[in-house]
């Protein structure tokens, strides 16, 4: 435990995460009010947040390089879980995403994203002196796709995209060449156009609905987003008050405890509340970037950047869905949306970032 000093623990990051989780639990409480089947979700989320805080402290105290040293068992273990989901997972919403352990529904996909960050961090450290050629690029991609292929087979397109964004971000930070980016962009375009045909019908419909909304549709595909816009718009400057948003409380807003919790917040706390949420998220992201800058080695920097990208992309995508800027994706708002696995995996990510920042290269003597 050489160099372990809690003086370097980022209390501001930890505090912001606790604040966001507490706010999330409070909004979940408002969102599920009066719904019998969802009763108790706010308490569950609070327990997850408390457990998550403990995990942050635990992970902060363990050198992140320990996890890199056992990356193979972790990688294979998660892969086995993801593979098993194809056969054993619960069929829910047409996709298989959960393991049931007692009363908990565990989503390995959420943890897989952290594992992807870990293995990429290890890979980029090991290859930091290699030429940035196609071989380097494809090797990194293979590490990612060893897990992503199973996520794609679930099918869970949103998390495939999240994983690929993490990969792209880390490849970018590790010095990918501009020429490679152009080639990659073209490949991505071809894959997107060809891949669209292999999407599930509901996914195709979501994309098409976004590109060209059906004006006549009252219910169904555009309904949820329309209700979200009404909720946000009617919130105005100061909101309708906690527990008094009609869209949220009368349940016109759907999946308001997860995908659309930002809309519920914007309705009950107005633009003030919405901006506060965005600022908290931005603050957390900034503290993670700060950790990346301070990291003593490439793997530490990559872990922090990976978590940064994960938080930023999920947060931005969730809010953009709420604002009808991109198609509905089902990505949760980090630390705010209901979901034990999601919250826990993000807490693990923050724990790793804390571990990095605590072991940063000290310049003081």
């Amino acid at each position: 435990m050489r160099g372990l000093s809690w003086r370097n623990f980022d209390f501001l990051l930890f505090g912001a995460v606790i604040l966001a989780s507490a706010f999330g639990a409070m909004m979940i409480r408002s969102a599920i009010a009066g719904n019998e089947t969802l009763a108790g979700y706010d308490t569950r989320q609070t327990y997850f947040a408390l457990a998550g805080s403990a995990v942050i402290l635990l992970l902060a105290s363990i050198d992140y390089r320990y996890w890199l040293s056992i990356h193979w068992p972790i990688y294979i273990g998660v892969m086995v879980f993801l593979m098993a989901l194809s056969g054993l997972g619960q069929a829910a919403f047409g996709a298989q995403r959960w393991f049931q352990v007692g009363t908990l529904y565990v989503q390995p996909t959420e943890f897989a994203k952290i594992v992807i960050i870990l293995v990429l961090a290890r890979y980029f450290e090991k290859s930091q002196n290699d030429p940035r050629d196609l071989k380097w690029l494809i090797k990194s991609l293979l590490w990612v796709w060893g897990l992503v292929i199973w996520i794609l087979l679930q099918p869970n397109l949103s998390n495939v995209i999240v994983s690929m964004v993490i990969w792209a971000g880390l490849v970018w930070m590790s010095g990918v060449r501009i020429r490679q980016i152009v080639v990659l962009g073209l490949v991505f375009l071809v894959v997107a156009v060809v891949g669209f045909r292999f999407l599930q019908p509901y996914q195709q419909a979501r994309v098409l609905n976004f590109v060209q909304p059906d004006q006549t549709a009252r219910q169904g595909a555009v309904y949820n987003v329309q209700q979200a816009l009404i909720a946000i718009g009617s919130g105005g400057l100061f909101g309708e008050g906690y527990g008094h948003g009609t869209q949220t409380q009368l349940r016109f807003l759907k999946v308001r405890q997860t995908d659309f919790i930002f809309s519920a917040t914007a309705e009950e706390f107005g633009i003030i509340g919405a901006i506060i949420i965005i600022l908290i998220e931005a603050f957390i992201i900034w503290r993670c970037i700060r950790a990346a800058q301070k990291a003593r080695d490439v793997s530490g920097a990559m872990i922090a950047m990976g978590v940064t990208i994960l938080l930023f992309f999920q947060g931005a995508a969730n809010i953009a869905v709420n604002l009808n800027l991109i198609p509905v994706s089902g990505l949760p708002l980090p630390f705010i949306s209901y979901g034990g696995s999601g919250l826990m995996s993000l807490m693990i990510g923050v724990g790793l970032v804390e571990s990095v920042v605590m072991r940063h290269k000290e310049l003081e003597f």
């Binding site: 718009g233 400057l237 009368l250 970037i289």
Partner: protein, 756 residues
């Protein structure tokens, strides 16, 4: 602790991090921009959308008014119709419990637990039947789980009670109670009362604006239900409530507005007399149908009418039109097959023949001619002797200058000719009326040589006297679809028939045939005018209008547009109160009501006019058969009315009088009766199709019109028998029996009043 200094660039290049910062910054700007545009600049519209989401207007149905007869006997009431419903959201959680409830309801109602699919259930209207209980509930659950789903409609009261008793065992199951119309007197009063139907599409916008709910609220389709729709309907109440996404009511957003029940209406009909009148009519119709055709099912008299009125007040006491229909069968909805059957029946059971059908009035029309002949001095006095043989040769010319010769001389036959070719011989004008001598009236109506010079009364003046007795225009009674009848004149004939008026047309019109048409009510009104010594009362079927607490309301009725009005006070900008009128239903306020309006509640006898006092008879200057109105009007001399009354009385008292057999021999009444019969030959499409129109023996309708007591009349009765034959034989007994019933009922009422 120190480690070798490693430059930052060894971990990552700083410019690459700036690109990341730039991306984050751009995304933040985009998100905040959209947030601003939604929450700060677009707020109002989104708030409206949110309010529209949770606001629901619920209409509270108003109870429709009840209709009574003049003695307080209920003719129309609202009864409960029970529907068994299941509210999906209130069903128990356990599927086994739900299935048990479904099975219990299925045994009770006969609706299967499962039938078809939910997709198929979408194709069915509520209450029609077809889908199983599970399918109906599943469909309702997916649409609005807090709205009751109708499983079985119009169940018996026993089943409804059974369900209500089990409501605690069967959570979610309940009984929905809807008011529907019930007509205790059914077909007896169907033509007067009418029936209800769904709000007609053409009226839907304006009625919806008044708070009616299409597909729920009903609208009058006939009878009083239609003509007094606005009086009866009331005003729906309204609740504005907040609902959640499932449709569950959360709270009232506005103070609820209670429904105002419709006003109750008391008719002038006496159900007992109505019943007697219907029985009397049916007995006669059945007698003659059996007499002519036995039990072959063939029909001679296909329709008939009998009406009774108080001549002093214009109150209709009985109004029977045969054939009629069962308005109770229309109470829930209008059954397609039954309605088809009614509307395709050639006897038109849906028509109220008393006011909606026009027939030639026959000899009852001679009352108009008689008033004219005496008032215009066509004959020197009623005692002038007129020669009335069995038939005479009359000249039928189309222009005044056309000479009469063998080509245009035609025999005009008296009705007596068949039994007594010699005719009535030398008789005075009283006997012309009493015997209903056609020859006598041909002569006085169209002129006869030197005996009746100057062309007799003539068609123009005949028309004036007919209109004075109520012919030619709708009476304005509070019933819909009234026909106007027809008083022909030369101009009308040229326009509609493309032919000149001929002298023969005048002869025929004088005896109420040819082109003359009248509704039975108009015939009754002519008798009423005579009975009431020249006062024509506004016929009315409404005695009073009361609110739900029994307070009599002031209501006026405008026959021209069937609107109903109440007095109203308006306050102008200066704070001055002035009296005006408010139209029921639309709520329109007007300084005065449409012309011709009259008060229907509280009851007052409305005099339309008094022919002996009000100048109603237009005068003409005639030259060569063409007459031009002078614009001068005159009255009928009171003694003329008395002389015609005397002729009508003689029809009963004289042994050869047309009503002697009925009122003296067959149905002797201890009360003096006067009247007039009529036998109107006709040839309409029905008669043509039945090959009845044979020259010389045309088919004929039978009429009888009579009032009593002669000295101080209190009832006037008219009966009409379609294709009945001679009025004195087929219609007079009907009238006589109605009169008997009337005086019997009167003595019963008096005995009761005395005893009480």
């Amino acid at each position: 602790m120190t480690s070798p200094a490693v430059p930052r660039s060894s971990r990552f290049e700083t410019w690459r991090l700036f690109v990341i910062y730039a991306v984050i910054f751009i995304v933040l700007v985009v998100l905040l921009g959209k947030l601003l545009s939604l929450q700060v600049f677009g707020g109002r519209n989104w708030i409206d959308a949110a309010v529209a989401n949770y606001t629901k207007e619920i209409s509270i149905p108003a109870a429709r008014g009840i209709i009574y007869d003049r003695n307080g006997y209920v003719l129309v009431r609202n009864i409960a119709s029970y529907n068994i419903t299941i509210t999906p959201a209130n069903l128990p959680n356990d599927n086994a419990d739900i299935q048990r409830i479904y099975r219990d309801i299925s045994t009770l109602t006969g609706i299967p637990v499962n039938s078809g699919t939910v997709e198929q259930a979408k194709l069915y209207a509520p209450c029609v039947g077809g889908p199983g209980i599970s399918q109906l509930v599943d469909l309702g659950d997916s649409l609005a789980p807090y709205s009751p789903v109708e499983i079985k409609c119009d169940v018996s009261q026993d089943v409804a009670r059974l369900v209500q008793e089990h409501e605690s065992d069967w959570p979610g199951v309940s009984v929905e109670v809807n008011p529907i119309r019930d007509y205790p007197t059914g077909s007896l009063t169907a033509d007067v009362i009418g029936y209800l139907g769904p709000i007609p599409a053409i009226l839907e916008p304006q009625l919806t604006a008044r708070g009616f709910v299409a597909n729920r609220d009903k609208y009058g389709y006939a009878g009083i239900e239609l003509s007094l729709q606005d009086v009866l309907a009331g005003q729906n109440g309204k609740r504005v409530v907040q609902v959640d996404v499932a449709g569950q009511e959360i709270r009232n957003l506005q103070p609820p507005v209670a429904a105002q029940p419709g006003y109750n209406v008391t008719l002038t009909i006496d159900t007992r007399l109505q019943q007697a009148a219907e029985a009397s009519l049916l007995r006669e119709i059945n007698y003659w149908n059996t007499y002519f055709y036995g039990n072959t099912g063939q029909i001679r008299i296909s329709s008939g009418v009998v009406m009774a009125m108080n001549p002093k007040t214009g109150e209709i006491l009985a109004m029977v039109s045969y054939p009629t229909y069962q308005n109770n069968r229309m109470a829930r909805f209008i059954p397609y097959t039954y309605y088809q059957q009614l509307s395709q029946d050639p006897r038109h059971p849906l028509l109220n023949n008393t006011i909606q059908s026009e027939y030639p009035p026959g000899s009852t029309f001679k009352l108009a001619a008689a008033n004219g002949v005496l008032n215009e001095g066509v004959i020197s006095s009623p005692n002038q002797i007129i020669n009335a043989p069995g038939q005479i040769e009359l000249c039928n010319v189309y222009t005044p200058n056309e000479p009469c010769g063998p080509n245009n001389m035609h025999p005009f036959v008296d009705w007596i000719y068949d039994t007594d070719p010699a005719g009535f011989g030398q008789i005075d004008f009283y006997h012309c009326i009493a015997y209903s001598s056609d020859v006598c009236f041909y002569k006085v109506g169209g002129g006869f040589g030197t005996e009746i010079p100057n062309g007799g009364l003539g068609i123009f003046r005949l028309g004036e006297y007919a209109r004075a007795l109520g012919y030619g225009v709708p009476s304005g009674i509070e019933l819909p679809g009234e026909a106007s009848g027809l008083i022909p004149d030369p101009k009308w004939k040229r326009i509609t028939q493309g032919e000149n008026w001929s002298t023969g047309d005048t002869y025929i019109a004088t005896v109420g045939q040819g082109y003359v048409l009248a509704t039975p009510l108009q015939v009754l009104m002519s008798g009423e005018t005579m009975a009431n010594s020249g006062k024509l009362m506004q016929p009315t079927i409404v005695r009073q209008v009361t609110d739900s607490s029994g307070n009599v309301q002031t209501v006026w009725y405008s026959p021209s547009d069937s609107t109903q009005w109440m007095p109203h006070q308006s306050v102008d900008a200066q704070g001055n109160v002035h009296q005006d009128w408010i139209e029921l239903g639309s709520g329109k306020i007007a300084n005065q009501m449409p012309a011709g309006s009259y008060q229907i509640s509280p009851f007052v006898p409305n005099v339309k006019w008094d022919i002996t006092k009000d100048p109603r008879i237009g005068t003409f200057t005639c030259e060569a058969g063409n007459c031009i109105p002078t614009g001068q009007y005159k009255t009928v001399a009171p003694n003329v009315v008395k002389e015609v009354q005397a002729g009508m009385r003689m029809a009963v008292t004289d042994p050869r009088g047309t009503l002697h057999a009925a009122f003296v021999t067959d149905y002797p009444l201890p009360i003096a009766v006067a009247g007039k019969t009529g036998t109107a030959e006709y040839c309409d499409d029905v008669a043509l199709a039945a090959n009845r129109c044979q020259y010389g023996q045309w088919p004929s309708h039978g009429w009888t019109l009579a009032y009593a007591p002669y000295e101080n009349p209190e009832i006037v009765v008219a009966a009409f028998m379609y294709n009945g034959g001679e009025g004195a034989i087929v219609a007079a007994p009907v009238v006589a029996r109605v009169m008997q019933a009337y005086f019997e009922l009167k003595s019963i009422d008096q005995a009761n009043a005395g005893g009480g």
